[in-house]
Every structure is written in C-alpha cells, then in structure tokens.
Symmetry: C2
Amino acid sequence: MLTQPKPQNLNWKAIIKEFERHVGTKGVVQRKEELLTYECDGLTSYRQRPKLVVLPRTTAEVSEVVKICDRYSLPWVARGAGTGLSGGALPTEDCVLIVTALMRKILKIDLENQQVVVQSAVINNWVTQAVSGAGFYYAPDPSSQIICSIGGNVAENSGGVHCLKYGVTTNHVLGLKLVLPDGAIVDVGGEVPETPGYDLTGLFVGSEGTLGIATEIALRILKTPEAIQVLLADFTSVEAAGATVSDIIGAGIVPAGMEMMDNFSINAVEDVVATQCYPRDATAILLVEIDGLAVEVAKNAERIATLCRQNGARNITIATEPAERLRLWKGRKAAFAAMGKLSPDYYVQDGVIPRTQLPYVLQEIEKLSQKYGYAVANVFHAGDGNLHPLILYNNSVPGALETVETLGGEILKLCVRVGGSISGEHGIGADKRCYMSEMFSETDLETMQWVRKAFDPQGLANPGKIFPSPRTCGEAASPKTLERYPGVDQF
Amino acid sequence: MLTQPKPQNLNWKAIIKEFERHVGTKGVVQRKEELLTYECDGLTSYRQRPKLVVLPRTTAEVSEVVKICDRYSLPWVARGAGTGLSGGALPTEDCVLIVTALMRKILKIDLENQQVVVQSAVINNWVTQAVSGAGFYYAPDPSSQIICSIGGNVAENSGGVHCLKYGVTTNHVLGLKLVLPDGAIVDVGGEVPETPGYDLTGLFVGSEGTLGIATEIALRILKTPEAIQVLLADFTSVEAAGATVSDIIGAGIVPAGMEMMDNFSINAVEDVVATQCYPRDATAILLVEIDGLAVEVAKNAERIATLCRQNGARNITIATEPAERLRLWKGRKAAFAAMGKLSPDYYVQDGVIPRTQLPYVLQEIEKLSQKYGYAVANVFHAGDGNLHPLILYNNSVPGALETVETLGGEILKLCVRVGGSISGEHGIGADKRCYMSEMFSETDLETMQWVRKAFDPQGLANPGKIFPSPRTCGEAASPKTLERYPGVDQF
C-alpha cells in the first residue's frame, strides 16, 4: 500500500497561474461560493469542497492540467455531469476538481459503421437524439439519461432499464482517448469491436476515475427496433412474480427490460402520479418490454402472457402504441421521485443477486426493514437481478442516516451471501468501498491495487474511492469517515 | 523496459524434484523425445523445445508450480490444447511449459442461472455437449472447437462463425479463478454478469498467457434457438456481395453468422469435397445463418433474400432442415482443409476491417497476390469484417515462407490503414508482435507493459509474446527472429 505524501507549502497562486495558462482565467474556479456547486454529486449525504475547479475544453488541455497535478503531486478528481449516486465525483480535501462540462461536442457520426464519437461531457440522451432520425439509438439508458454525461457513464459502467438485453456501458464502448495520471494521451480500443493486446478499454470502463480521464469516446449505436410492446402483469405474491421472471428467461426470451415493483412502490406511485394502471392491491407488478421484428414481438408477447397466467397473474395489459406504452412506464419512471414526495429523504441501494434468489431476498429485505423500523420500497431491474431498495427516512432525525446506512449495508451483505454483487450500475465510489471486502479477498483487492498503481504510482487520481482502507473502514469507522477525515493519505 | 536476468547455474535436478513433489513423477516430462510434442502449437512454422513440461491437476498444484518458477526466476509458458494459430503457446528456450491438459473436469452446471464452471482444459465443444440435452449451448465456436480448450479460448479471446451475433469469448466469461505469476490464487468476476472494481476478468481474457493462468472458468450458456435457417447466395462481383453484407446489417438484421468465400475458395472446395452447392463460376458466395423464433427467422430470411436479389444475387438457396443446413455449411467448414490438399502449405492470416471497406480491401489483396506471385484464397467472417486470407505456397522452396510472411504482413498493414485490426480472433502470440507498432503508438504499448509489469514484475509469464521489441522487430529482423534468438531477455 502506497502512502500518499500530503502536498505541503504549495504556492497556490503560482499553480493557479499555470492552470490559467492552459484553460484561461475563466477555466479556473476558485471563489468559495462558486465552489459550492461542486461539493457533492448525486450522493448528497457526502460533501467536500474542492480546492479549485478546472474546466478544460480539449484533450490537450486535460493533459496539461493533469501534468500540472502530477508535477505538484496534487490529488485530482474528474467530474462529468455530477449525477453519480455513489459519490464517485466527490472531491477530496484540497483536490483539483477537473470538470469536463465544456467538452460537449459530438465529434463524428458514422452511420454506416454504426458508431458515434463524442467528447466526454456529451449527455447520454444526445447520442440517441443525434442518430434517431436515421433509425438508430444508443442503448444504455440510466434513469438520469437526460442529464448524465457519457464520460460519467464510462467511469461508472452505467446500466439502465434496457441492459437486460443490450448490456451495460462496457458493451457499447468501442474505443477511448484517455489522459493518464502522468498526462500521457493514449488511444485504447478502436473502430472495430475487438483489438489485440490487453483490453484496456474494458479495464477503463467502470474504473471510476481512478485510472485517468476519458476525453473522447467511440460508442456503438444500434438500429431502432421495428416493434416494441410493453406488458404489465400483476401478482398477489412476490414468489409468483419472481417465478415468472425465471420462467421468461428460462424460455429463452430476452426482454429488452423486465422491471418489478412491490406493493409499497405501487401505492407510492399511485398516490403521487396516479397512473391508474397499477392495481393498489397487487403484491407485485412486472413490467416487461420486448422489442424486435413485429412478428417476433407479437409471438413473444403471447408467450410471456401465457407464462404470467401460468404463474397466477390476475391481469395482463399489453401496450403496443407509443402513448399506451408510456402510460404503463410512467409509474416506474416516476418511482424515485414519488418516494421523494412521500418521505423527507430516501436512500437508494444498488445490489445484484442471481435471479433465482429474488423471492428469498425480498423476504429477507422485508425482515430487515421491520428489524430496523424503516420502510423499504423495492423497484428494480428484475431480469438482471439488479435490486434498488429505497429506504425512506428523515435526515433531520438524529442518527437516522447512520441507521439507514447500516440497514443498506445489511442488504448489500445479503446480496453477497446469495452469490451476488454490491453494485449493479451505480459504482462503489466513496459510498460503498467499505463493503468491497465482503465481496473480494485481500489478494483480489491487492491485484486491483497493482493495476491502479501501474497507472497512477503517486495515487493522485480520485483517491479514497472504490477501495477500502483499514483506517476508514475499520470496526469503529462508518462509511461516512471520508467526510469526517478527508484526505488522500493512501490509495 | 525491464531486463530479465537469464537464470544461471541452476540445479535442475533439485528443481525437478520440487516440481515432482507437487505433481508427481508422472507430472513432469523431461525426456527429449517426449518433449517433441510440445515444440509448437498450431503455428507450426515456429519450433522450440521447452526445458521441461509440468502437468498439474488442480489450481493448488498450478499455484505451487508457478511459485517454484517465481523462486528460481524460470520463464514459463502455459499451454492448453495447443491449437492456437499465432504461436501463443510456443515455448521459449529453457522455459517450463505448464500444460493444463489434465485439468478436464466440468465442475458445475447451473441451468437455472445459465452458467457452467469448467477447469481450463475442458474442450470447447464439451460445454455444449454437457448442456444441449437441456436445450442450452455455449456460443463461441472457433473452427477448432472439437479439440481446443476453454483455457486457450480465454487466453486468445477466441471467436468463431457465430461471434457476429453472440460476441467472442470475453462476452461469455463470467468469472475466473487465476494463478498469478507470483503463485497467488485470485478470483475475478463472479456469478452475476457485472461486478464492481476493475474488470480484471475482461483484462485477463485475451492476455495470451502473459498475466497468469486461468484454472477455473465460469461460462455463460445460452438457450438453443427455436429455429435456424441458412441462406446461400451467389454473386458475380465482390462489390455486390460486400454491399449485401452492409445492407443486411444496415437493415438492423443481426445474422448468427455471415460468411463470404471468393471464387478461388469456391473452386478449391468443390475440387476437394464436391459439395455441389457452390457455383464454380460465382465471383463470391455469401452464407448467412439466422436464428431465433420461427416467425422471426422466416421473416428475416425473406428480408435477406430480398436484399441479396436487390444487389444482383443470381441464385438463393434457403435451408431450413438440419441436413440441408449442414450441406450448405460443408464447403465453408472444409475450406482450410481443402487448401491443404491443393497446396503443400498454406499460411492463414487474421485481420479485421470496417465492414464497409470489404470490396476495396479484397481488390487490394488481389493486387498484393499478383505482386508477390502467390495465390490468396479469401474465406472469412464477412459480417464482422474479419478476414482470413489463405496464402498458398510450398515451404520446400527456399525463401517462400519469408515472402509469404511479407505478403501476410502487407495484408495486415492494409487492414490497419483502413481503420481495422491486425487480429480478429487468433491473437498476436509470437507471430504478429512485430506488427503491433502498426496499430499502437509507443505510449499505447507502454501502457500495456505497465499492466503486464504490475502482474509479472520478473517478466516470466510467456515472455516474447504480444509485444514487439527493438531487437527482434528491428529493421533487419523478420518475425521469425524468436526462433533464431530464443530467450527471455526482456518483456
């Protein structure tokens, strides 16, 4: 484990001048009030003001900025749109926050070879908008897709509702232009899907800003399917809904998405947005989207409806037209917002379990919810076994957040116990690093550290993220230790 | 660049005793005649006898064997079934060849979660055989699938006819148990598709034995499709066949496989195996396999046939029944063997190009063929743009191999020039490392070396593979320098 010397007696005035030489005076933010915006990302329970913010516009500028950090051993954190939910873009004390927000150009659209090259702060949804007229789209669709950046998606290997059929970000990135922690500019991957040598593209996607900054990203785009249908089925037991999910996959059907909501979520959504589609007395509903050729979709809709009925579904609604489909999706899409209206605060957890464990895990979550006395709503990607338990609480009650974090942690441990994972699509960031040891052995984690060190011997890139450390994750420490003891004293 | 000290004055007798303590006396092969088998893999033009062969049976034994190598700084090379085509398992002088051939157990079949866990020398085809009764199969299908090992597939990130729709090995590996170059046993990935932290599974797949040995591999299996059809279309111009490929993909159809054969290959195949399906006067034929639901396949067959006709196809044959499908495939599957019968020797190249460049690249290959005076047959995965030019020659003619290698190299450079890659599915190994600089900058290659060094600071694992070195790939050196100057003097 490398010990990171804390920069001492720096002449910040001179350093800022150096940054300004490359990004201009407007490219450096240093006034305290202006820095407030950058104190946290989507995980708002952690906050830390950076020393300063630098806003480069090109790969060359990013490289120069990183070189300055390297020269003065300044820890730095990259930030895209700042919508991440695990604190991956949370600043550390005295860090330089490198914000890519001005790098918003779509550099190339090559429909014939089905790819788009973008600068890293291009918004996820813009990619689809740029090519939808020609009948293409970009598949990964995190729920923040209208505000999150592709660079952030790459850092966190983001998923979305459609990753059941189409995979997560890593399956859609063909190549990257990277600035490494020493400022070197490197191209990994390429225009063709597989390139020889080590798969550094795959290694970089999901590395949460600890190996460098992606400045340009080549994305694979897909042809818009001919037909889409959405099925809504409601069940009187979670077991029946879970068994239906298994049966659909077991039949060889791969829906574009397959979502489950429990009774609590259904009622929360109906209270707030009144879709009038979701039956309030259902124990669980399944929303299944299928796409492909019209004949294929029609056939699969029939098969799925049969499987739902065989498992005791009470009602099945099938939507074929865009407006109807949107109506069925409306509640699911509004679920998080609905929780926000029902409860002063909520905490979203993100864990993965083998699909077959769904009924058992939901029962156990219910037991944990009763044990800790906090309501847990379940809205999740059932097809992938990617759970999103939402724990409702009131942050103004002393100790509530701590208890909720403990409850969230117990849910993660449960996921690992049944053979799953502590993160499906939100990343580890600052939030979950203390749970990495639940999933990985010392040797496993050490191997990852070797790789990190190979890229970043000084340990300057996004310190304090992903990996647990004895000091911050010891017996007595809470996951919030980072906030209380910010710093970069080690990887 | 790290310089590897050559082991000096080793007490081999004592070292062999150490190996024998872990793998038994039968587990160590040291007699010269017995070592002959291990002199080369599927790339038979390079040969080098290893110092000795060790045959472990378990992960623990592999770990102990690697630890001994680490202790005495012995270079080692891992070998599965030895069917690789780029010399990835070629021994270096005085190396310990770690052969996994005895690790052939299928450890777990989990149909519900659609995965199979195997030891590394399990044959590719066995996986499908083990689960086909239950309606599942393992998708990656290199043409050597009845003899190649899963461990070798992982090392080379092998593809196959069906990788157009289903992806290559890396898309089907969920997790790995690894022995690293220091002997540590590490688990990467897991039972669920995405796990947090760095994607070391993805990094390892395709690392060609340079980062460690995979001893256990968790594979994703797929449901056997309801229907399969094969279309054969023949064309009077390569442009028309190439345009058809683009049109099919452009229409959003993803065939399971889409292969092209040129006139030379068609006639070679008809001379040798007489399929009587392939018209001898066609300039090119396309074989398109589609799978999925019966209704979907029928619809897509119709669409593909229309696109073929629009591009001027003369005849279209559609096979729906298994026996008919096999008949259409027979010539394609026998193509390499047919070349072997027509010519004393042939050299298979493996390069990738953007699909849209097909007609141009085939023209250029024809020009190169004429320039060098060697016939080049083209049989390839057209859908992925993965070319397999087969250069026919006679190795007993002095200088022929060298010329053919130069011609092969020119084809690779052509692939890179149009935005492609120097390897689609055979790996770099010993054969193509001197072309890596065509594709990657110094900085790109250096970044890969950092990663290699993080795993293997002594540079003992499969030295002399993947990466070019000034000495072996300098102006005056040929790709065969490895044979002439074996050794491990550097990464």
